[in-house]
Amino acid sequence: MAIKIPALPEQLPTAQPRFVGREVQRVEDPGLVSGTAEFIDNLALPGMLHCAILRSPHPHARVVGVDTRAAEALPGVLAVLTGEDVRRWSNPAYTAPEGWGAYCIAVDKVRFVGEPVAAVAAVNRYVAEDALELIRVDYDVLKPVPTPAVAMAPDAPVLFEERGSNVIQSRVYNWGDVDRVFAEADHVVQNTFRWNRVGANPTETFGCICQWDISDDSLTCHGAYQTPRFWAMARALALNLPTNKVRVIPHPMGGGFGGKGGPRGTDIAALLSRKSGGRPVKYIEDRMEYLLAGFGQSWDRYYDAALAVKADGTVTGLKVKLIDDQGAGTEGWGTISVAKPLAAFTGAYRIEAAQYDTVLVATNRAPTGPYRGYGPPPHFLVLESLMDMAARRLGMDPAELRRRNYIRPDQFPYTIPSGNEYDSGNYEAVLDKVLAMSDYRGLRESQARWRADGRLIGIGVVSTVEPGVFDWNAYATVGVQGIGVPEGAKVAFDMLGNLTVVVGFNLQGQGQFTVAAQVAADYWGLDLGAVKVASAPTDIGPPSFGQGGSRLGVAITGAVLGASEKLKAIFCQVVAHLMQTTPDQVELMDGRLRLKANPQVGMSLAEVAGTMLGRSDLLPPGMEPCPEATFVWTAEGRTMPDDQGRCRSYLTAANATHVVMVEVDRDTGRTDILKYFIVDDCGTRLNLANVEGQLQGALAQGVGAALYEEYVYNDEAQPLVTTFVDYLMPTIHEVPMATKDFVVTPSPVAPLGAKGCGEGAIHTTPAAVLCAINDALAPLGVEITETPASPHRVWKTLRRARAG
């Protein structure tokens, strides 16, 4: 039977939703403010050991010998793990494309600073770290490969010798008649861009406790796992275990943003547990380890890109050439960040043809991984910067150039040249609202006045699309397989009518337990606090992916609603039998199963569930006494990619326009954000506070990427960023408090009309800030096309202006 999921909040079985679409207090917060939430380092198991990892100081070297005898002799040390052990017991990380992964501890050679070379399990972390100092490693240092340019040189040392080259993938996509639109263009606006490495840096690093059951060779991993089932499967592959012998128990996480890492740490703790006879082993990554090697680094890119523009401002073509420094292999799934821009390649615009020329290169920097947005934020920085450069060339207002090129409301669903289909939107309404809210004309007048006083004032107006609710097919071009991302939920009433919603993930900060509770509470007519949301381990929970790809709010809504619809149908059968009518004469409304013809007559949820569990004599013959249902949701209509990667991938397309005003200091190159305005449209807002929090938080990360954050490596591939003194996370002083408003264009294809919005402003903010800086610099005839636009870089640009 096909399950029909309510398409809008109005279709929920309640006279008036009390929780969906409102600002509600989150169900997870009391535990979090009390300090009682069980973050992984708060858990201790009997007999638990503590792991510390010895890491390579060299970016590229052969490991000639590892002498662990002194460490093993230290009192309190139970096991020491080396490359020899992992070669015997495990496999290199599975990657896409295949063959670019390493073992969890270096076997034969190290490829980046921070790569594990040995690990210790001891009675406490202090002793474990003492033992690391007793391990002797002999290295034969190799020539480092610090950049893609060096990596692609003919005589370059090769990182993965069996691959024969440092080029992971080289691929050109052509969508539409690119040559023609560029030949017919009145203007071609071209530029190069450098996006330096940034990364996730959740305040909690990765941590886990792994226990190897030596009786049946099974593994249990408690930890900060963003996508528990995915990691469970990957651990089974890495550790030569059947997939049903790895159990992952996800704990609440102190943030993630994609960059939580964990595979190597998990495998090392697991094998230390195996080697120490099955003792539980805890590994808590420290911040220096995270910054060196924690899969928190993303987007290390060199762009050369061009727009084809007609004299009237119509943009007809986009060419993007990208050289992407993936770092030392693809174990962190950084390749996906090159594929994902296909889901929104041409942004908010009707650009008829596009080309994407990609080269993914391995270097001796740390492997890159996912970070909020997973690829499009740098892509939009390039596209939106070119839009501004085109506007300057044409003498047009940048807001008006965008307006002229927007996909129009009557064109949805709209298929972009790179193949994805945008579900809905009204970009001009968003633009009009933000221009009015910011008094855009007034801002431009102020700018003109202040410029006349000699100040460097700039305004950015940037529009982007946020692909929401990811599907694996979006990443097919880099070797990821599959279509569909199942997310399940179980709704279960007990004998007294209390409801538990079981999900397969744990808390990470976005408030998804609250979303699940809101949806369930409104569906079943319960108070929010009456719904218990429980996280199940991977071996007993429903199929689940968890957080990622701006999807979980939508996906868990679909799962809870689907399960509720299934259970309602069962409840209707019970009530119909008791009332001697047919199920189609019974309906659910505000928490009661009642007769449609006589709404006064009905049963409470407790009566129905209690009857099912406690009075089998009253049930319809043959009915299973189970007031529970599970539903696994995935987006429908996703398609197999064609030879140019085109497919319907991400389900929803949220959009936003930001207006930002900055001032650049002539003497220091420092940028101050004076004003910030955001209007966005992510369809139905399931929880107003959640959405606003995601927006403001992603804005902060966008500001960091635009102005402050950078993983710096020297020309020997040595990382120069190992602490928060070097990696500049925005503090309360740097983040603008944005004025926000929104437009609601419900998604016609997603449950309750909600669009993915978790990545949000990081798609837009880096571009908006850089465009504003370049608007400020425009009168000087210089521009900056490298991020972060740090004071030093801007100062150098200003010097160029003076020299020129």
Binding site: D29, S34, T36, T203, I732
Partner: protein
Amino acid sequence: MAMSTKQGICITVNGVRHEREVEPRLTLADFLRHELALGGTHVGCEHGICGVCTVLIDGRSARSCLALAVQADGCQVTTVEGLRDRTTGHLHPIQQAFVEAHGLQCGFCTPGFMMTTLELLAENAEPSDEAIKEALGGNLCRCTGYESIIASVRLAAQRLREQKRT
């Protein structure tokens, strides 16, 4: 590097006296978390930048990752576990304000922010936004973008002022 001799300390945490023998190198954060099982004080960077591990030592905010347990010998330490009213079980007005004004997402940095807020509001019952920013400038949050944290502190200040009046 040899195993160090232990040292006797007496630290009062949230009003409860604890006497222990500890290694001199044991950080206050590890002492609180692993010796006393007060897990609400989280650890974010262990080098004194992020402020996640902030506690009050004799009423002054301090990084418990940079302090050694032996340095807090004889001191009064307040942690997030000390905020909730022990008899009624009610959340402290600061905790309640963070819930109501959505001053947290993942909640990992939140105990540090609340302890810094406790210190601020003890000194300044009606802080301006600038004073709030000045006080919280040493605490990193990666989730919220800080706006809701400022709102939470404002709300907490108001609640505490109201509480004082009644």
